[in-house]
């Protein structure tokens, strides 16, 4: 056992004892070494000392807000962060994602969901731009050739459709907010024109999805944004 590789470290920042306990049990069972803190300030300190592989961050903390913790973390670290939020907290979720959170989960959530998000978040931290292509199920995006194929069949995309798909593929598995997508593809002055996004997502789905009404790859995160599902 002593020569086994060190277990990855997960840092849980949440003021609720029961949530921490449940996360500790679940993450332990999934092979993580879990450290818990109850305040945002402790969270920032522990993140610097422990250098965790993943941080689970509650948005509502007693001392400083989850957003504040995230902003301080992002000054020096690209550690994947998954935010925990209450329902109806769409604006909080978006703010967290815009500030650099890798993903979010709405309370209550299941352990299965949590582990899937953690896996996706840890994978994304590899710099996507260095990869030459992305493969999602039957969908393959070749960044170098600017070519997209579905089941080996080439698909013709417009410039905007391709830009949208490429941005999502570069952040495979990660939620991109409407604002992030609109800024990235159309520019900062278009960040409120969400209907652009709806129209192009609709067009894109018709081309890459077998059933556009029940998309497998390009999924909607209600009220928040879109995600290209990685698995």
């Amino acid at each position: 056992m002593s020569d086994a590789p060190p277990r990855p470290i997960a840092l849980v920042i949440d003021d609720e004892l029961e949530i921490r306990r449940f996360l500790r049990v679940s993450l332990n069972a999934n092979g993580y070494d879990v450290h818990e803190v109850a305040t945002g300030a402790d969270g920032v300190t522990q993140a610097a000392m422990l250098r965790p592989e993943i941080i689970i961050l509650d948005i509502g903390l007693p001392d400083i807000s989850g957003l504040e913790v995230l902003l301080r973390l992002r000054e020096w670290s690209r550690v994947p962060v998954i935010a925990l939020s209450a329902r109806h907290g769409e604006s909080d979720k978006i703010a967290m994602l815009d500030a650099g959170a890798n993903d979010y989960l709405t309370k209550p959530f299941s352990v299965g969901e949590l582990m899937a998000r953690i896996r996706a978040a840890r994978r994304v931290t590899l710099p996507a731009s260095e990869a030459s292509s992305a493969q999602v199920g039957a969908l393959r995006i070749d960044f170098a050739a600017r070519a997209v194929t579905l089941n080996e069949t080439p698909i013709k995309l417009t410039k905007t459709e391709y830009a949208l798909l490429r941005m999502l593929a570069e952040n495979l598995g990660k939620v991109l907010t409407h604002r992030q997508l609109l800024r990235g593809i159309w520019g900062p002055e278009y960040e409120r024109e969400t209907h652009y996004l709806r129209v192009y997502v609709g067009q894109l789905r018709k081309k890459i999805e077998a059933d556009p009404d029940n998309p497998r790859y390009l999924v909607t995160e209600s009220g928040v944004g879109y995600r290209l599902r990685g698995e």
């Binding site: 417009t158 409407h178 909607t220 209600s222």
Partner: protein
């Protein structure tokens, strides 16, 4: 039967007195002083009988008993034996008030109130305070002390009693300037008569033991202290005391229902006019009323005869005296005084009338149909009439001039000018046409008649005299001479002059009557309009605004309404017409207003309290006390009628303000009650709804720790599922509560965004898949639906609620359908099931709070549908439920489809 039955049983009286004394002893000490203070008056016949001395002895005795005694104000006049009594008693320092360059040392009322002793001694009750003091008279200071719950001992000479003052003046020849109203005697809880025989007093006087003042006052005093005078004063003092004892006895017996004299049903009325006699009448009536223990009225009948300022002032003075002596004051208008008096008498159920002996001339008596007294007696069958002599008045009544010169000189000039013109033209015509002079007489008569329609009595009489002169000089032979030779001419001229005077006088009187009636009518109209405005105003601000506007216009004075806050501090009320005149807003005026409010009595200008104030401050009184104060910056004194009107209007305003205050309070109460009812329902439902899943979770979780269960995979799975579904139910419950709260509190913020309907439908389908696993769940999504602006998260919540309801209330295996389609400019979302539907009578209330279907599981708060309604309506949409033809419920949501802005295509190839 015999006397035995009617006379009080002394034993019974004694028993009651003892019981009362015991009750007093129990209740008096140790309790917070909220009862009014007790007043003890040491009554004497004149100065020098030893009132101050006795009073101080009494105070010492009380102090020795442990009572907190304070000497508020005592004048020892340097007598050593009296001064000795002051030793050891705490004395209040006197207030220094500057008055006409001299420092006057006065009783310090505010310091006394602040000190709040149990008993205070204040000498010289009739004293007049220095101008600028809070009250003009010391007895008013005493009343305020009593109101504050302080017992007061004070001293009074009988000559200073309002009702005895003129009698004393008549007996002694020394006018009494400082008086106190008799009511203070009634207010007294105890009166101690300090009696001394005149011989004894004269002896003390000779020994120099009586303070007589300095210089001239001393000389006057010497003429005052004569044995005859002293005997009369002593009798008066004894009688006053006896009257009081008698009355107390009757009150006591009545209060205790001891058989004895029945309650007096008498009601007195005194007729008041401007004469000095009326003042005596008023005092007489007051004495009579006191002895009879009857309420009394003072009535003034205003006749059509025009009155000057002086007469009006006299009437007001007499009425004010009557009011001060405790009368109800009534002012009415009638051409016939006797008729007016009797009308008021009948309206007020008066049994006795006090009038003065008539001073009318024989002619007036004849013209008026007899003397006032005779007519009163003729007309009143059941009412007793007292006639009080008016001959031996100390000063003669002011004679009323026959002609009242209160018309302007311009009016005289005009009337005389017109008459002169008529006489001159008449002369021209007379000479030219050779007319009979009798005709000219009629022409002049007609002119006099016309003039009297326009002018008052004075100018008309002047014009009449001119015309008579003209007639005699120019038309009756010999011309240009005042003499008349023919007897018939003489008779004619005499008749002419007589008729002209009578016609002129009668017409003016008619005109005056009309004028008075118009004034009355104007007041009635003002009062009526005010009342209807008050009832029309629906908010407190409106009431205040309308009241200030109206009052300000009616009395041509700045008006301000002050209302108390929770701490009973007065503030200018909201909604007033304009910025109140600066003077009204001053601290000093506010202080006066506060006094008026706290004591529920008018204060300020033209009142007894702080009359040097700029404004009059009238408390707005209702049956529940003062609700506020109306301050009115009067420029001139109000006439009796105006003052009556002002009082009436203020009381109307008070009622309106009270009404609005009560209304607001009841509104607040009903809002609170509704909220309480809702929260009670909610709490009972929530406690039930929360407990059920929590019980399931706790039970399942504890079972999982049992070794038997742990070893059985099937059982474990079942328990896990139970935990999960209960948790999901809890979660749904909380979400609904949150949504409800946000809807109710109005903090719901719609995060509307362009939404792909298929995204919405898909998310909903995923979320309810578990709930509908045992139903046949079908989704109809019309292809090619446009983007719709909505808060997708909230709309998901709506559809979740509807679909979960369907899962809950319909049998397993039945079909549940979710359909999304476009109808014109609307997106139509429908949730249909094949369950029992909703009874037709319940349908209209299906979307109300806390309503849930009878059938199916008793779960959910019944909040689901009401939340759906709230959320859909927040989207400018509509929601409706009906029963389907083949059975089952259909809920249809309609959302508007807005035209979508263009999406640029330019960059695409």
């Amino acid at each position: 039967m015999t006397l035995q039955d009617e006379r009080p049983d002394p034993e019974a009286l004694l028993a009651i007195a003892n019981a009362e004394a015991a009750a007093d002893a129990l209740g008096s000490d140790g309790q917070p002083r909220r009862r009014p203070g007790r007043l003890k008056i040491f009554l004497g016949m004149c100065a020098g009988v030893g009132k101050t001395y006795t009073m101080l002895q009494d105070a010492r005795a009380r102090s020795a008993e442990g009572v907190d005694v304070l000497i508020g104000y005592v004048e020892t006049h340097g007598r050593p034996d009296t001064e000795a009594l002051l030793e050891g008693l705490q004395s209040l320092p006197r207030k220094q008030a500057p008055y006409r360059g001299v420092i006057v040392r006065e009783f310090d009322l505010d310091a006394a109130l602040a000190r709040l002793p149990a008993l205070i001694v204040v000498d010289e009750l009739p004293h007049s305070n220095a101008p600028g003091s809070r009250h003009p008279k010391r007895y008013q200071d005493v009343l305020e002390l009593l109101e504050a719950g302080i017992d007061v001992h004070t001293a009074l000479n009988v000559q200073h009693l309002e009702s005895r003052a003129d009698a004393v003046a008549q007996i002694t020849g020394v006018p009494v300037r400082e008086t106190v109203p008799d009511t203070i005697l009634e207010r007294a809880d105890e009166i101690e008569l300090i009696d001394l025989s005149p011989d004894e007093l004269l002896k003390r006087l000779a020994e120099g033991k009586v303070y007589l003042g300095e210089g001239r006052a001393s000389a006057a005093a010497n003429s005052f202290f004569r044995k005859g005078n002293l005997n009369a004063l002593r009798e008066m003092a004894l009688r006053v005391t006896a009257e009081r004892v008698d009355k107390q006895m009757r009150d006591y017996m009545r209060a205790k229902r001891i058989s004895g004299p029945w309650k007096s049903t008498d009601r007195l009325m005194v007729a008041v006019n401007d004469s000095a006699l009326s003042e005596r009448l008023v005092r007489h009536a007051r004495r009579l009323a006191y002895t009879l223990d009857a309420p009394w009225l003072a009535v003034h009948v205003e006749t059509a005869a025009a009155r000057g300022e002086r007469e009006r002032g006299g009437v007001e003075r007499n009425l004010a005296l009557a009011r001060e002596l405790g009368a109800e004051v009534v002012s009415t208008t009638d051409d016939d005084i006797a008729r007016g008096l009797l009308r008021v008498a009948q309206q007020h159920n008066v049994s006795q009338i006090v009038v003065g002996r008539p001073r009318e001339s024989a002619l007036r008596r004849f013209l008026g149909g007899g003397t006032l007294v005779a007519r009163l007696i003729d007309l009143s069958s059941k009412i007793d009439v007292h006639v009080v002599g008016g001959e031996d008045l100390g000063h003669a009544p002011t004679p009323r001039p026959i002609v009242q010169f209160h018309s302007t000189p311009a009016a005289y000039t005009q009337a005389l000018g017109i008459m002169l013109l008529v006489v001159m033209i008449g002369f021209g015509v007379f000479v030219g046409l050779d007319l009979d002079y009798q005709v000219m007489g009629l022409v002049f008569l007609f002119t006099v008649l016309l003039l009297s329609l326009r002018f008052a009595r004075g100018p008309v009489l002047a014009a009449t005299a001119l015309s008579a002169l003209g007639l005699d000089l120019l038309f009756i032979q010999p011309y240009l001479s005042l003499s008349i030779q023919q007897l018939s001419d003489f008779v004619l001229f005499g008749l002419y002059f007589g008729i002209a005077v009578v016609v002129g006088v009668l017409t003016t009187r008619l005109r005056n009557t009309a004028l008075l009636l118009r004034q009355r009518e104007a007041q009635v109209v003002a009062s009526f309009e005010f009342a209807s405005d008050m009832s029309g105003a629906v908010k407190l601000e409106d009431v205040c605004r309308v009241a200030t506007e109206r009052l300000s216009a009616l009395f041509d004075a700045p008006v301000q309404i002050l209302l108390p806050d929770i701490n009973r501090q007065l503030h200018v009320a909201l909604g007033q017409a304009g910025p109140a005149a600066g003077a009204l807003a001053e601290d000093r005026e506010l202080g006066v207003a506060t006094w008026a409010f706290e004591h529920a009595r008018p204060a300020g200008k033209q009142t007894d309290t702080l009359p040097t104030a700029i404004a009059q401050h009238m408390p707005m009184l209702t049956s529940n006390g003062a609700v506020g104060v109306i301050s009115i910056g009067l420029k001139d004194r109000l006439s009796t009628q105006q003052a009556d009107l002002l009082r009436a209007l203020v009381s109307q305003a008070a009622l309106a303000v009270e009404r609005e205050q009560l209304d607001e309070a009841s509104k607040q109460r009903s809002v609170i009650e509704e909220a309480e009812r809702l929260s009670k329902t909610l709490l009972s439902l929530i406690s039930h709804e929360l407990r059920t899943p929590i019980t399931a979770i706790t039970g399942a979780a504890s079972s999982l720790t049992e070794p038997d269960v742990d070893g059985d995979p099937a059982a474990r799975l079942a328990l896990h599922e139970s935990i999960q579904s209960s948790a999901a139910r809890l979660n749904q419950l909380i979400e609904n509560l949150l949504d409800m709260t946000r809807l109710e509190s109005g903090t719901l913020k719609l995060n509307a965004d362009w939404t792909d309907v298929s995204d919405l439908i898909r998310t909903v389908r995923e979320r309810v898949a578990g709930d509908l696993a045992e139903h046949e769940f079908i989704v109809d999504l019309e292809p090619g639906l446009p983007l719709v602006r909505m808060d997708v998260v909230l709309m998901e919540q709506v559809l979740n609620n509807l679909l979960r309801n369907a899962a809950l209330y319909t049998p397993k295996g039945t079909r549940v359908r979710l359909r999304a389609q476009r109808e014109g400019d609307e997106l139509v979302l429908a949730v249909m099931d094949r369950g029992p539907g909703i009874p037709i009578e319940e349908l209209p209330r299906a979307f109300e709070k806390f309503r849930r279907g009878e059938a199916g599981a008793s779960t959910g708060l019944g909040l689901g549908l009401s939340i759906c309604k709230g959320l859909v309506e927040a989207h400018r949409g509509s929601i409706a439920a009906d029963n389907r033809s083949g059975g089952g419920l259909r809920v249809v949501i309609r959302l508007p489809i807005d035209p979508m802005p263009k999406v640029p295509e330019g960059r695409d190839e």
